[in-house]
């Protein structure tokens, strides 16, 4: 748990007074804190540099060297201080971590040395704060690459699919992330290949081939091998059509998919073929048809699905739209101005090329972009002067927005890289948080299993010593909550199995005399329980699971408290006698069938409420019989 939380724990425990009037059970005794409450200042000598800090500060992180009893190994009796023979400069950062809860990475230090110090003091590098994390990671990566280690795994959108996804979702994922399955990868490469083939075919069919026998004119290959090209084109279009239809089918939102750029490109790439099929061989229309064939070149844009860089380029152009618009606008203005000037300057010359202002546009563009074809040249002096001004200003106007576009591209490209890195970090962080959360819940459940609720006498104290006082107090707090509400914390597994067997028990024990069971509603997970109950209706597993109360209650009297679980059952029955008005509770122990049975030689059972049941082959009694016994 975070250090700051330790400060607030006394406050949370004090607030537990608010539960007292509501509590159904008696509150448990608080843990005895043998340590003296007075805070003291500790001296830490690191290679001659003396540091002082409160003991509480170091105790904030009990699973590090300085926070645990491990530091006692470094205690020097003569000088009454803790001596560490390590780098004093680095220690400053370590100590600041205890003070502020944030670990910073000093940029001037070597990342390897920093890692070693962290390892020595038992601090996990993941705790480095956001401010320094990127730098730390970058340096570490550089370091590792230099040592020729490849540790950076390929992250990205490789999240595992939820187990119950439909075919459609799986198909969509295969299309979007080809490296998730081999089939998708194969399909990806096949389509890429066919795009290339199609584009090459389009290009090659215009190349002049040797003419047919008996004819002098050079024929383009397309007409010579028209059948071959037609077949190739058909094959490509079929593949593209198939791919498009599959994507359309798999898309989660069809309207959105149809409006996306890639889909439009796909359609434009395959439409000319179908239109060509449909249209008759008419001379008038075939002119238009030829134009349509130009659109076949759009197939090359389909490559942008295969290339991240192309997509980034497209995205950059889109995001630099304002700069590009500005460039275009200023160029247009300049072209119009200079074209007008050149026209009027050259108007007098005989046989001039500058026949009109629009004709001068071509000269202006060619000059401003410093192309200079030379097909239109000014002859008059004024024309030459203005022509030179035109070419100089052309360079300026074009050069101005280009760096903006370039920097935009660079920014977006690096952002993209950073986004991938961030996603990776976020995943790791979430996983750590989830693990810590599970850790605390598991810690409490484990604490209960180990019988932490008994009055601690000296012999039992040893086994519970390795928990910090913070954990003791926190567990006491959670235990108080349990007593207030008269319900216990369990984990998900036990809970779901309990739900299932609860509904089973309800079905099998029809003739119970305890009325409270009939009042019990399986509100926890009715649908799932019902489904499972139907499935298991004929199996004997649930019956044997649902039964064994009888053995339990019989064992109570004979128990020798060998199993801690049995002894907790002892405690429970004592509680039973005390709180007779708790209808709920008696019903709970009697009518609810047991959670999964464990043999005593297995490890501790998940929920201590029902102890390890001896798995016995002859235990197929129904619940109602056990009721009779335990009601004694």
């Amino acid at each position: 748990m975070a250090a700051g939380v330790a400060t607030w724990l006394p406050f949370a425990r004090a607030a537990a007074v608010g539960w007292l009037p509501l509590a159904k059970k008696i509150m448990p005794k608080p843990p005895v804190d043998k340590k003296s409450r007075n805070d003291e200042i500790l001296f830490v000598n690191v290679s001659g540099l003396r540091f002082q800090t409160w003991k509480n500060t170091l105790d904030r992180y009990p699973d590090t060297l300085l926070g645990s009893s491990e530091k006692e190994f470094f205690y020097n009796e003569d000088t009454q201080e803790y001596f560490f023979d390590r780098d004093p400069e680095m220690f400053r950062h370590i100590l600041n971590f205890y003070r502020t809860g944030k670990l910073h990475y000093p940029r001037q230090e070597c990342v390897q040395a920093f890692d070693e110090e962290l390892a020595f003091y038992g601090i996990v590098p993941d705790i480095i704060g956001d401010c320094c994390m990127e730098e730390y990671r970058d340096r570490k990566k550089e370091n590792q690459e230099r040592l020729a280690e490849d540790t950076e795994a390929e992250m990205g959108t490789d999240t595992p699919l939820p187990p119950n996804s439909t075919h459609r979702e799986r198909l969509w994922r295969a299309f979007e992330n080809p490296h998730t399955s081999t089939m998708a990868l194969v399909f990806y490469y096949v389509t890429g290949f066919f795009i290339a083939v199609s584009v090459i075919a389009n290009v090659v069919e215009t190349v002049p081939c040797r003419p047919l026998k008996g004819s002098k004119k050079d024929l383009p290959c397309g007409e010579k091998f028209s059948l071959a090209f037609f077949c190739m084109d058909t094959a490509c279009v079929l593949i593209f059509t198939f791919e498009y239809l599959m994507r359309l089918f798999a898309a989660p939102s069809r309207c959105k998919f149809m409006r996306s750029v890639m889909s439009v490109i796909d359609v434009v790439a395959i439409m000319p073929y179908y239109i060509g099929l449909v249209m008759p061989e008419n001379e008038d229309v075939s002119g238009a048809f030829v134009t349509l064939r130009v659109f076949r070149v759009f197939r090359i844009f389909k490559f942008s699905r295969h290339s991240q860089g192309l997509r980034i380029l497209g995205y950059t152009l889109k995001s630099c739209a304002s700069e590009l618009g500005f460039l275009l606008f200023s160029l247009t203005m300049a072209i119009i101005i200079f074209a007008t000037v050149m026209f009027y300057a050259e108007k007098g010359t005989k046989g001039t090329n500058f026949t009109s202002i629009p004709a001068s546009f071509w000269y202006t563009i060619v000059t401003m972009t410093t192309l200079g074809y030379g097909d239109m040249v000014p002859n008059t002096i004024a024309g030459k002067i203005f022509g030179s001004i035109c070419s100089l200003s052309g360079v300026l106007v074009i050069a101005l927005p280009v760096p903006v576009i370039v920097s935009n591209f660079s920014r977006i490209y690096h952002q993209n890289q950073r986004a991938d890195k961030m996603r990776a970090q976020q995943k790791v962080r979430l996983a750590r948080i989830r693990l810590a959360k599970k850790g605390t819940t598991n810690a409490f459940l484990q604490y209960k299993d180990e019988g932490g609720f008994h009055d601690r006498d000296s012999d039992n104290a040893l086994c519970l010593k390795n928990k910090s006082s913070f954990e003791h107090q926190h567990h006491h707090l959670l235990h108080c909550l349990e007593k207030t509400t008269n319900h216990e914390f369990t984990d998900e597994l036990t809970f779901s199995e309990m739900c299932m067997t609860e509904s089973m028990g309800y079905r099998t024990s029809r003739s119970t005399s305890i009325s409270s069971q009939q009042g019990m509603s399986t509100s926890c997970c009715p649908r799932r329980a019902k489904r499972r109950a139907i499935r298991l209706a004929n199996s004997t597993v649930s019956v044997s699971r649902g039964s064994v109360q009888e053995l339990d209650t019989l064992q109570v009297h004979k128990s020798s408290s060998g199993l801690q679980s049995r002894s907790s059952l002892n405690a429970r029955t004592e509680d039973l006698k005390l709180n007779c008005e708790d209808r709920d509770f008696t019903a709970a122990i009697i009518s609810i069938p047991t959670p999964p049975a464990n043999t005593p030689d297995e490890s501790l059972p998940p929920s201590p409420a029902f102890p390890g049941i001896l798995r016995n082959s002859r235990t197929n009694f129904y619940t109602h019989e056990t009721v009779k016994i335990s009601s004694l």
Binding site: R13, P30, F489, T490, C524, A609
Partner: protein, 215 residues
Amino acid sequence: MGAVVGTLTLQTRQRRPSNDKFYDDLELSVVCHRPEGLEQLEAQTNFSKKELQVLYRGFKNECPSGVVNEDMFKQIYSQFFPHGDASTYAHYLFNSFDSSQNGSIKFEDFVAALSILLRGTTTEKLQWTFNLYDINRDGYINKEEMTDIVKAIYDMMGRFTYPALKTDTTKQHVDAFFQKMDKNRDGVVTLDEFILSCQEDENIMRSLQLFENVI
């Protein structure tokens, strides 16, 4: 050419207001609250100087600005109850701590409440609890308020409990509470009824002593 430069400057001017807003926000966030002197606090509460020092050092470390607002409080409190959702109960708790009802807890509020809870007399503790339950501060606890509180407490347990939570668990609990506390059966519990009923119950009296050694 001049027109070209003109359009350039036009575009950049549009982007400036957002920068100003950033600097404004920067200034507003630096708010600091300092508590009264140590002697005053020692006089007002039942803590010794050393205890107040320890408390303040921890508090200041966590909240350098000197105040805790509701979101922070909810976040802190939720960390102790990872199983369930502690935000509703934290909200009621926050309101009971925030004596000046201005949406933030200062160190004085914090210490005053702790002083009552840990070093106060039983009557004071019960009074604090009554104030916690009485959400609208009208001097009476009615069934709706109690249901809200009990539901918030059960929310902290989370979903995975043994025995499983039923739909009428909360209602049963509230009914049991009213059965015990509401002496004149008028549907509300007043402060006197509450204190009287609690004093009659030995278990509650004994439990109130449990938390004395928390600090």
